[in-house]
């Protein structure tokens, strides 16, 4: 009886063990990005702009050319890369501490200008690499090392919903929020990332995908409990869906 391989590691992902903690969704999202780069045959013309955070070593895991940007500045670096090399496919991969806190100005203006870049935004509600400090996306009541009694809305405000903010800007062609906790959500994520990449290859505008992710270590949970928290706590506050999918005429 013959058999065929129906699922294996995509070619764009190096065959290498990652430094991520058990159950971290970064590995899953890397693989999805790799699969889409393979399917769209973009690997040879891609320039990745990686960020600061746990995903800082992304260039060790994706087999594409890469630029390392200072903390939060990936959209600004990507703007320069794209404007200098219009023929290349440019995307950034950023976490929530990087994109929603330190890099807030860069992402807002890159999106508003409608730069032809794509952004994969991984939201795990905490600063992962630096040791679990409070991020702008930290959930109400969530305990972190800098808010040990839980995030308090009176003094810290409420978590920022980035996808909705980005969707309201003029230059954005595609904006969605997805998760990778179940196979169904994972398939939606793949579709969304593909669409965010397509709006760049078609020259329509800025593509943005927010992916809800776990951080079992800094949430102080087992990987399985952390995976359940996505559906139980995060999705009710961060609703999944496509917030903008505009045609070329609508975009600036």
């Amino acid at each position: 009886m013959s058999e065929k391989i129906v699922f294996q590691k995509p070619e764009s992902v190096y065959d290498r063990a990652t430094h991520y903690c058990p159950g971290c969704h970064h590995g899953t999202i890397h693989r999805l990005v790799g699969e889409i780069l393979d399917e769209m045959k973009l690997r040879e013309k891609t320039i990745l702009v990686s960020s600061i955070g746990c995903s800082v070593f992304l260039y060790n895991y994706l087999e594409v050319d890469a630029v390392e940007a200072p903390h939060g500045r990936a959209p600004a670096v990507a703007t320069g890369v794209k404007r200098a090399r219009m023929d290349k496919f440019v995307f950034t991969y950023q976490g929530d501490g990087d994109l929603a806190s330190i890099g807030m100005a860069e992402i807002m203006h890159a999106a508003n200008r409608g730069e032809r870049i794509s952004v994969v935004f991984v939201n795990n509600t905490v600063y992962g690499m630096t040791g679990g400090q409070m991020a702008p996306t930290t959930m109400e009541g969530q305990k972190t090392t800098t808010c040990p009694s839980g995030r308090c809305p009176e003094s810290h405000g409420l978590p920022i919903r980035m996808a909705e903010i980005i969707a309201s800007l003029g230059g954005v062609a595609f904006c969605a929020r997805t998760a990778v906790d179940t196979v169904k959500n994972l398939n939606q994520t793949k579709k969304a990332i593909r669409r965010a990449f397509e709006v760049q290859t078609a020259g329509t505008g800025f593509g943005f995908v927010e992916v809800l992710s776990t951080c079992p270590t800094n949430w102080r949970m087992t990987p399985l409990k952390a995976n359940e928290r996505i559906a139980a706590e995060m999705i009710p506050y961060f609703p999944l869906g496509v917030f903008k999918d505009a045609d070329a005429e609508v975009c600036a």
Binding site: S2, F7, P216
Partner: protein, 87 residues
């Protein structure tokens, strides 16, 4: 027989695959790998139930799982059309 192959040296024992399998075939083993994680496994004799849906492999954050799907022998297929010739 469809089957999965788990690369135990890469498995971090997060067990997300155990929640993904619609048949609940994957469980935690008693073995540790070099990194010190208790790896996931399919108990002996249960692999025959695998349908190669690849749910486990899709959820695995570490690309540990390769999924093989068995193909029906050519003689058995009742549609004798072009599908058979392709393979």
């Amino acid at each position: 027989m469809s089957r999965i192959v788990i690369r135990e040296e890469r498995c971090k024992g997060c067990l997300l695959c155990t929640t993904a399998c619609p048949k609940g075939l994957i469980v935690q083993s008693e073995r540790f790998n070099k990194m010190g994680y208790k790896v996931a496994e399919v108990p002996e004799g249960r692999m025959a139930e695998c349908t190669a849906c690849a749910s486990c492999a899709k959820l695995c954050p570490d690309c540990c799982i390769t999924v093989y799907k068995s193909e029906k022998p050519a003689a058995k297929g009742k549609a004798a059309g072009g599908k058979k010739e392709k393979k």
